[in-house]
């Protein structure tokens, strides 16, 4: 889902860059001292996830982990993904440097959205089935929203819209399913072992005071 250099038009790059910087700023402001280790570990996980590929026809799609990271970090997902995307571009050449802002919005905004849609509703006392259901939805919708944003960004740069979005979406359906299960399993485990991580990304900090 990473967009390489030289594909997006100038105005799109500038607009997405500005929005991405703003988003990272919001994420940093809302990030608490308690969250920093979590942000670091999840950023590293995202960094590695692009190497785990699911072969689909002639190409491969890779795990996104947007849903998982979003549910655990909320807005702080944006700084986490920003660092990882920068390193992926520099070390692996995966995704362009000029398109960093666009890639961050495409993968980071769904993460934040999944937190607000699903992650926030996972209460400490919830049943494992409910947690799995919400987490599966977060994983699936995270990838789905990413596909939509990818299509919108490409369209804004003058590419075809309906056909491209359709193909991207269908191509990512296996990834959506796998990611749903991965997110589900991970959050059920965390919910059982450390429910305060999920109650709210900031609840840990508030209860400390």
């Amino acid at each position: 889902m990473h967009i390489a250099d030289g594909i997006l038009s100038g105005p799109v790059l500038i607009a997405t860059g500005a929005l991405a910087v703003g988003g990272v700023g919001v994420g940093l402001a809302k990030m608490d001292y308690e969250q920093v280790p979590r942000v670091g570990v999840l950023s590293a996980a995202f960094f590695v996830a692009s190497l785990i590929g699911v072969p689909i026809g002639p190409s491969r799609a890779h795990l996104l982990l947007a849903g998982l990271i979003g549910c655990l970090l909320g807005w702080a997902a944006l700084p986490a993904l920003a660092g990882a995307l920068l390193l992926q571009a520099v070390l692996f050449g995966c995704g362009g440097l000029t398109s960093l802002g666009a890639n961050l919005l495409i993968m980071g905004l769904p993460a934040v959205a999944c937190y607000h849609l699903f992650g926030r509703h996972i209460r400490p006392g919830a049943s494992a089935r409910r947690v799995f259901g919400l987490a599966f939805a977060a994983g699936t919708v995270g990838v789905g929203l990413g596909c939509v944003l990818l299509g919108v960004t490409l369209y804004a740069s003058g590419r075809e819209f309906i056909g491209a979005i359709g193909a991207i979406f269908i191509g990512h359906i296996p990834v959506m399913v796998i990611e749903g299960f991965v997110t589900g399993a991970a959050l059920v485990f965390l919910h059982r072992v450390r429910p305060e991580l999920l109650a709210s990304p900031r609840a840990g900090a508030e209860q400390e005071e």
Binding site: R38, V41, S50, L51, R60, R194, G204
Partner: protein, 217 residues
């Protein structure tokens, strides 16, 4: 205090698990579209591929000259291969794009192309090519080959021999080496650690300031 320690410990456990998974993994390739091409004589041939395996079919390959002037375009076949006949001796930029954000470029430098091709924008594009043809026409009955012909043949053969080597080089650039992975993770955890330390210092200072007993009135 205890919860903070548990959170940090859980994070470290997760990180250690990740590291173990990595060390057991085979060398992997980040999913990237790539282009490779060589020039044999005036034919530029090559293929597009995904660094994890797989060839894109029916992809348009745009050929651009210096300063972005469009020299032509072609398409990849079922095996992702394409060919293009160069008409000018100049830098050729080959560019491909899939519909979903992948893109790749490859440059064929001017001196990989035969010398008897005209420079771009030359009016007398046909004139230059007459000379070698004349020299060999006289030798057509005899089997002697002109030096220019021989040089072209050698250049073509060399290009063919070197191609597998260049392909290997191209591919090995893409391997996501373990040291890159560890380096990236190291950076991330390092930055997080430094941030954690400084934010922690600031928090301790703040709580010490607020915990100071009020001055006796």
């Amino acid at each position: 205090m205890d919860r903070r320690n548990r959170t940090v410990r859980a994070s470290c456990l997760l990180g250690a698990l990740l590291a173990c998974l990595l060390l057991c993994a085979e060398p992997s390739y980040a999913h990237k579209l790539k282009l490779f091409a060589t020039a044999e004589g005036e034919t530029i041939s090559g293929y597009a591929y995904f660094s994890g395996g797989g060839r894109p079919r029916n992809l348009t390959v745009r050929v651009l000259g210096p300063s972005g002037r469009k020299l032509g375009e072609t398409k990849t076949n079922d095996k992702g291969e394409f060919a293009f006949t160069a008409r000018y001796r100049c830098r050729h930029l080959l560019a491909v794009e899939t519909g979903d954000g992948h893109g790749a470029r490859f440059v064929i430098k001017a001196d990989e192309l035969p010398e008897d091709l005209p420079a771009p924008g030359d009016a007398a594009s046909g004139a230059d090519r007459e000379a070698p043809a004349e020299a060999t026409a006289a030798d057509a009955t005899g089997r002697a080959v002109s030096p220019a012909e021989m040089e072209k043949a050698i250049a073509r053969a060399l290009s063919r021999q070197l191609r597998p080597l260049r392909e290997q080089l191209d591919r090995s650039e893409e391997k996501a080496r373990l040291r890159d992975i560890l380096g990236g993770i190291g950076y991330i955890l390092g930055v997080a650690g430094v941030a954690f330390y400084f934010l922690g210092v600031r928090k301790v200072k703040k709580s010490r300031a607020s915990a100071r007993p009020p001055e006796p009135g």
